[in-house]
């Protein structure tokens, strides 16, 4: 639904007590330099603060960074919380996700997974593809 020349608006956050936000800051910078507007929530967010932010910011996509192996629980929880709030927005997970978990995340409605060391172009493409294929 976004018109072609408006920047993609992406909410970036970390959930819960995972305190490693260096990767998230790098991703924020990569996306900014790709011309996106990054609504940076940072550390210690909850599903509620993420849903509030996505709603109020009318975001196009959410990126959650997870380095604490919580992705199989927390990833689907975010997807469900957004759906419950009536928000049709793709969720991309970045961080340490074993290959064998990717299918489970896709089945749970996660739009994309970006692993550690993903080059900048892959990060940008991952976010763009999530927005484009979500068909807003």
């Amino acid at each position: 639904m976004m018109s072609g020349d408006s920047p993609i608006r992406v909410v970036l956050a970390k959930l819960g007590l995972d305190g490693h936000d260096r990767g998230l800051k790098v991703v924020a910078r990569i996306l900014r330099d790709a011309g996106m507007e990054v609504i940076y929530l940072g550390l210690r967010q909850t599903t509620e603060t993420i849903v509030d932010a996505v709603e109020q910011e009318d975001a196009d996509v959410v990126g959650i960074s997870m380095l604490n192996a919580g992705h199989l629980t927390l990833g689907p929880r975010i997807v469900d919380a957004l759906a419950d709030a009536g928000l049709d927005v793709p969720v991309v997970i970045g961080g340490i996700v074993p290959d064998e978990d990717r299918q489970a995340l896709a089945d749970a409605g996660i739009a994309g997974v970006l692993g550690p060391g993903a080059p900048a172009e892959e990060v940008v493409a991952g976010i763009r593809d999530a927005v484009a294929t979500h068909g807003r």
Partner: protein, 334 residues
């Protein structure tokens, strides 16, 4: 802009702009958020939203918050709006951060310092300047109007750091709060013209630092000087109040909330509020007209360089000829 009634109204998702406005006024935050997006994107739908909201406004107290980078604008805005939400008001915040001039991207980080405010129910919208010179995005007045029409009060506009911003925010707000900190004497000095001319209220934030009293005294001195010269912004009925705050602990925030309310009361009772809002409309017309003229000017220059009509002409002569054309010179049509 009004449209012919024969045409179908444009639809956003599965709702018309009128339906979105009705939903926003009924308290649906998603509808408010979508209307803000439409205004920010500009174009025909933005005009539609402007048409649907411009008669529904002037219920919100519009408060601009500005000051040097790092003064604590976000934290103080969060503390103030959290307090007001806890008292049963419905505050909204528009937090403006700069866009990168190179890529057009932006990192909007104000929510990091506004977690409590979000939890208290404050509606927060982050926005980038999107290349608009002057520190506030072109869309700010229209977005303030959406929040006002949706029943939020107050609507707090937090600007990027100092620059020409003060003038912009003064044109967009009922009350301008300037946030300074101890030890920023030089920053205040450097910007004192702008700050003094537009401030309705000062907060000396981080006032638990040792030289807070000095900062306050410096401000008082500057205000004394401006009283001496008799200079005062039009519609400013009284000397700006100075409140000392510690945003991170909430210190002084109740007093600040009181001072913000007091200023609105002074504006009301003196008749300045209507004047200021009238000025605000004029400023918005001016800013939108500037924008249209800039676009027309860029297009005319591009065309002249493509069609070769500027060849052999001095730059000044070309500019004059294009201006005649744009502003209704010899071959003017409308």
């Amino acid at each position: 802009m009004s449209r012919g009634s024969s045409r179908e109204p444009p639809v956003v998702g599965n709702r018309t702009v009128a339906q979105l406005v009705a939903a926003a006024r009924g308290g649906e935050r998603r509808a408010t958020a979508r209307l803000l997006t439409l205004v920010e994107q500009g174009g025909q739908l933005a005009d539609e939203v402007a048409g649907a909201t411009h008669q529904l406004i002037d219920n919100a107290h519009v408060v601009g918050v500005t000051g040097p980078p790092g003064a604590g604008k976000s934290t103080l805005t969060a503390a103030l709006t959290t307090l007001l939400a806890d008292r049963g008001r419905r505050p909204a915040v528009l937090a403006v951060d700069p866009s990168s001039p190179l890529t057009g991207g932006a990192i909007l980080g104000d929510r990091v310092r506004m977690v409590e405010a979000t939890a208290a129910g404050v509606f927060i919208r982050s926005m980038a300047t999107r290349g608009h010179a002057g520190g506030l995005a072109l869309a700010v007045p229209g977005m303030v109007r959406v929040l006002d029409a949706a029943g939020f009060d107050p609507v707090v506009v937090e600007t990027v750091g100092v620059g020409q911003v003060e003038v912009d925010v003064a044109a967009a707000a009922d009350t301008v709060l300037v946030v300074v900190t101890p030890g920023m004497g030089d920053a205040v000095q450097a910007n004192k013209a702008g700050l003094l001319e537009v401030a309705d209220l000062f907060a000396v934030n981080k006032s638990d630092q040792p030289n807070a009293a000095d900062a306050r005294r410096d401000l008082e001195l500057m205000l004394d000087l401006s009283e001496l010269t008799g200079h005062r912004r039009a519609g400013v009925p009284e000397r700006p109040a100075i409140v000392t705050t510690v945003a991170t602990t909430g210190g002084g925030v109740e007093e600040l909330a009181g001072a913000v309310d007091d200023h609105l009361e002074v504006l009301r009772s003196s008749g300045s509020l209507a004047v200021r809002r009238q000025d605000r409309r004029g400023a918005e017309v001016r800013s939108r007209l500037d924008h249209l003229l800039l676009e027309a000017s860029a297009a005319a220059v591009a065309l002249a360089s493509v069609d070769g009509s500027a060849d052999g002409e001095s730059p000044g002569a070309t500019a004059k000829r294009l201006a005649d054309h744009l502003l209704g010179g010899p071959d003017h049509k409308r």
